[in-house]
Amino acid sequence: MTSDVSTTSGGSTATNEAVPKAPSAASARRLQIARLRDLALVPAIIVIAIVGYFVNPVFLSSQNLVNILQTMAEIGLLVLAQTLVLIAGKMDLSLESTFGLAPGLAAWLIVEPGVTHGLGAVPGWAGVPITLAVGAVIGLINGLLIVRFRLHGFVVTLGMLIVLRGLLTGISGGQTFFGLPSSMMYLGSTVWLGVPVSVYVCFALFALGIVALGYTRVGRSLYAIGGNADAARAAGIRTDRVLWAVLIVASMLAALGGLMLSGRLASVAAAQGDGAIFTVFAAAVIGGVSLNGGKGTVFGAFTGILLLYVIQNVLTLAGVPAQWIAALNGAIILCALIISRITSGRAQE
């Protein structure tokens, strides 16, 4: 759009003085455009919200809005995690299984044997540290296989997805863990000023993600690695170390998200998180994150997941039978992709 500005001069010394000035005007415009692209989904969310209000005034009730945000918060952490991994040029399918296994393993160790399959071997306060530690260990294993041994990330995490899901089914005997300790319930069930703690956590982590990826060298190095790993290495970025860190942080975020869901439901089902990865990818891509790496923003991913959940809520309020929601969800994802293809004008591959 503003490309004409930079191609006008062939580099003669006469334009020396004009050089720093001309781009600054263009840069302001370009920044606006970049910001607009980030906000691309906001009008859509507002339109859907207005439609939702006319469909059913309950939509704008604070209780309903809090409900949307709370259910979104849990999956939202998966989206945040996947966004980090995608920007760095990798994929992590195993996040959805980590989402279930991490709190599941903690529950298994803590819950008394009488209730379900619990061992009762560990005191209740250890629930949160164990959950996060399980996430970290899974991230380490992913890192070991992908970064250290150079296995294909997609296939490694697909294998991990199946293994981790199987582990959760194994330790739980396919059943649901009940009677969680209060420490594991806190994030999902405590309410501050009418809003569950999980919503605060989700918003805080997204805000942190926006700052980290937009304004820190480590964050920018994710874009560099995802865009051109060789160039990143040549610029002195320790690409392996950053990838390890990203995979570990992503798994820990998934574990935390799972913990928030378990806290809300006061249980860990053997199928917790099953199939969530598709919604996660869809939200990230709708939000402008590229599956090829190096492109997208945390804020965009946030609007992506928000849009999906608002639409889903409106459909429910409109009385669409639950059995049909999945089909509509898929259609929404496709429509969103088509629209973003048209508005960005670029092939997505």
Binding site: S6, G11, R30, R220, Y223, G227, N228, A231, G236, I237
Partner: protein, 494 residues
């Protein structure tokens, strides 16, 4: 008299397994003297570059900068302060802005990056070196020329005063090459020294002061450019006295030879290629030569005009129709459109002719390998066999495979776009020799190129400038006139 050398490598040996990439080789670059490094593919140039830039350590021998030993490999910053290389392959990150690429991993501001300072610093840096590029653009939008300038500026910002240019002109058109050379001279005056790697000998005479020749992993000769005439340089590179000879004049085609290609008013360009005739389509980048050639091959749908191959009109914009009409194409960018790197030579060679390999959509391995063997012999592709993946071949041999793919169809018309870009001297000879052979069999050849050596094989040369047909030469053109016409300077031919 001579100051401390900027960089000196002595007695360097480097082995990869059993292959010796460099054998007791060396180079000495003096400050302020643009130094050319030439040699055929496999001569050890790339290995030397990776040793000079600290990406690899030599097995034997030493590297020193201004008399001091080179820093350890792990100290990337120290290397970056001494030397930088602009590779053919881009080392920028396309999704990030130019500004961020310039200051990657050294963004101003900690812990939080100051974006306004980053943009200001980047704009200042580019202004210092007279690079007119908007720093807020995504780097992926830059042209090859702009990308190289940005990479040079980035290297200079690390205080490196030795810059290695690895075949910088391979992807540039004529005017862009001139601008690059002007800039090299300008930077030279400001104390920057270049080590220039190129396949094009004439470029070395235009811009370099000294030249070093490598052959078969060894240092052959170093000397002042003025003291090494082209013939000596070529023989130093090839080891024998083969030079790019001017082809003998051919007898004119008999009158009434049918035209294999008739281009009528195609976006304002009209010409014919007769059977057995080699016609050049000359012009720099943006002249429209590539577009015309691609339209003939069916890769592009022309806006106006008609194309007839062998007398019948061609369905516009259809590659299968062009193939069926007997058009063979050697595309401009071999990596992009020329071959599938991980498939074998045989599969690549026969990709255009599945129908000749078996019936009902099946492919007979035996027939395929037989056809592949014929083509490999014809083109002198250096390979142990037809099963090797094309990615394992050198650039020149890859281009031979692309040529073979076009010939597999026994084309009536062969279309070549920049056929010898990034190809060493010997392979160039072979490729152009194939053109001669093909034409003797009555095939028409269209060569779209701005490379004078490519155009020397032509019976006629049609010159395009900014989409217009500006001149036509017979086979007796002089370099000066042709180049002038391509640059749009030739007004008396209008």
């Amino acid at each position: 008299m001579s100051p401390e050398p900027l960089v000196e490598a002595v007695h360097v040996t480097k082995r990869y397994g059993t292959t010796v990439a460099l054998r007791d080789a060396g180079i000495l670059v003096r400050p302020g003297a643009t130094h050319a490094l030439v040699g055929r593919n496999g001569a050890g140039k790339s290995t030397l570059v990776s040793i000079l830039t600290g990406l690899q350590a030599p097995d034997e021998g030493t590297v020193s900068f201004e008399g001091e030993p080179a820093p350890p490999l792990g100290d990337r910053d120290a290397w970056r302060r001494r030397v930088a290389c602009v590779y053919q392959k881009s080392t920028i990150i396309p999704e990030l802005t130019v500004a961020e690429n310039l200051f990657l991993n050294r963004h101003p501001g900690a812990p939080l990056i100051k974006w306004s300072a980053l943009r200001r610093d980047a704009a200042e840096l580019l202004a210092t070196w007279d690079v007119a590029v908007d720093v807020t653009r995504p780097a992926g939008e830059l042209s090859v020329e702009q990308r190289q300038l940005v990479e040079i500026a980035r290297a200079l910002s690390y205080d490196a005063r030795l810059i290695i240019l690895d075949e910088p002109t391979a992807q540039l058109d004529g005017p862009a090459i001139n601008r690059l050379f002007d800039r090299m001279r300008g930077l030279q005056e400001r104390g920057v020294t270049f080590l220039f790697i190129s396949h094009h000998l004439e470029e070395i005479y235009r811009v370099c002061d000294e030249v070093t020749v490598f052959r078969d992993a060894q240092h052959i000769v170093t000397g002042s450019v003025a003291e090494l005439p082209p013939a000596d340089l070529v023989s130093a590179m090839t080891g024998d006295a083969t030079a790019l000879t001017r082809r003998a004049a051919r007898p004119p085609l008999p009158a009434g030879t049918p035209a294999v290609l008739e281009v009528q008013d195609l976006d304002g360009v009209s010409f014919q290629v007769r059977a057995g005739e080699v016609v050049g389509l000359a012009g720099s980048g943006g002249s429209g030569k590539k577009e015309i050639a691609e339209a003939v091959a069916g890769l592009r749908r022309p806006r106006a005009g008609s194309i007839r191959v062998g007398g019948t009109p061609l369905k516009p914009g259809s590659v299968p129709a062009s193939l069926a009409a007997g058009v063979g194409l050697v595309p401009q960018d071999r990596h992009h459109e020329g071959f599938v790197p991980d498939l074998s030579i045989a599969e690549n060679l026969t990709m255009t002719v599945p129908r000749r390999l078996g019936r009902f959509g099946t492919i007979s391995r035996k027939r395929r390998d037989r056809l592949a063997h014929t083509l490999i012999d014809e083109l002198a592709v250096k390979t142990p066999g037809p099963d090797l993946p094309v990615s394992a071949l050198s650039g020149g041999n890859q281009q031979k495979v692309v040529m073979g793919r076009a010939l597999a169809n026994d084309p009536k018309l062969l279309v070549l776009i920049q056929p010898t870009a990034g190809v060493d001297v010997r392979s160039k000879e072979t490729l152009l020799g194939v053109v001669d052979k093909v034409r003797e069999n009555g095939t028409g050849v269209l060569v779209a190129s701005d490379e004078l050596d490519d155009l020397r094989t032509c019976d006629r040369v049609v010159v395009l400038f900014q989409g217009r047909q500006v001149a036509e030469f017979g086979s007796d053109w002089s370099d000066h006139d042709l180049v002038a016409a391509m640059e749009g300077l030739n007004s008396d031919d209008e």
